[in-house]
Symmetry: C2
Subunit: 204 residues, 2 copies
């Protein structure tokens, strides 16, 4: 039997991506499912849909609610949380480029969690190669080497390629999960996606 | 101790309102919580936010996904489902006016479930007083009397009043739940809202 897996499409600036990133590996392990990380830039997707800004920012009422929901859901799931970051959504091209370049590395999950925690818990900038270097060094890796080689082709283009794949897949938000070609949108559907990964059925 | 209760804000044309309407009373009973039905028109809310159409209709990608999600979630929750209604969103002013006029009646939940099932399972029109009469008659009630008296003030204006309250409360979608003044948005938050109703804590 082939290995059961789940694609996890995330943007470092997305708050519900953060919640899912903090949960996905431990939960997937319980289900016996492998996580395939798919960092991609959500901004160009929103632009292509015709949104001028993140929905939570553009829609005032929904925006106010979202941060309440984040506090509640993080508490429910035991995910660290403080408050809405002072910059939202935070750009993260450099740190995400590293994530995309090394998306299959065993340390990728920890790297993503550390960078996203820096944004959503510590309220600090994540839009610089120096941040990637610092995070990787703290993980006991060679930050400078990894970040430098992430800027060499074909690795450098992987973030853009994931973005093009996301668009081709019809992704319209983050986090999004794919299991055997089936889309599951949002942190609220993570458990459903994992249950589907361990089943043998097909959805209509 | 005062009675624990949950306000359930719904629009008959909203598909996730349908899912919540089919679940709320049985679930609330398990939690020992009373349901206060709050039928309101979502259209004017969307207009005041600046949306020209239902988000699922306006955003093509999300629209395609939503009906997959509906099929999956209804199966998960054991709620009857067939497919996207041929008219969406279906107008329902007349049947909702009756619901709003008699929102505290013990038969209200069953009335809502029957009307919404007619829309989302049977794919039939729900925008007529005759529909309300038929549904009420099948429930063993005096349909004509109830529908006629729903058109007498102050009962007639209750649907409009609920709409004004919804706007004042900052409601931006349906279903929405309120417990002790705290908003919970979406069918996915029903369990959280009920858990909060049975707790003594306050959210930030």
């Amino acid at each position: 039997m082939s290995e059961r897996s789940i694609e996890f499409w995330l943007d470092f600036g997305s708050n519900y991506s953060y919640m899912a990133a903090m949960r996905v590996e431990a939960l997937a392990e319980r289900f016996g499912v492998k996580v395939q990380w798919r960092p991609f830039m959500l901004g160009p997707i929103f632009e292509s849909i015709g949104w001028q800004a993140v929905p939570f920012v553009q829609q005032e009422l929904k925006g106010a609610y979202v941060w309440k929901d984040m506090a509640r859901q993080c508490e429910k799931y035991g995910v660290p949380w403080s408050k809405k970051p002072s910059v939202f959504p935070r750009p993260a091209v450099y740190t995400m480029r590293v994530a995309a370049a090394y998306s299959s590395e065993p340390w990728l999950g920890e790297y993503c969690r550390r960078v996203m925690t820096r944004n959503f818990v510590d309220d600090r900038d994540i839009h610089a190669n120096e941040v990637a270097v610092e995070v990787l060094n703290r993980m006991g890796l060679s930050g400078v080497d990894i970040v430098q080689s992430a800027q060499v082709e074909p690795r450098k283009s992987r973030l853009r390629l994931f973005g093009e794949q996301a668009k081709a897949l019809g992704i319209f938000g983050a986090p999004t999960f794919f299991v055997r070609g089936e889309m599951f949108w949002g942190n609220d559907r993570l458990e459903d996606a994992l249950a589907f990964a361990t089943s043998d059925r097909k959805y209509r």
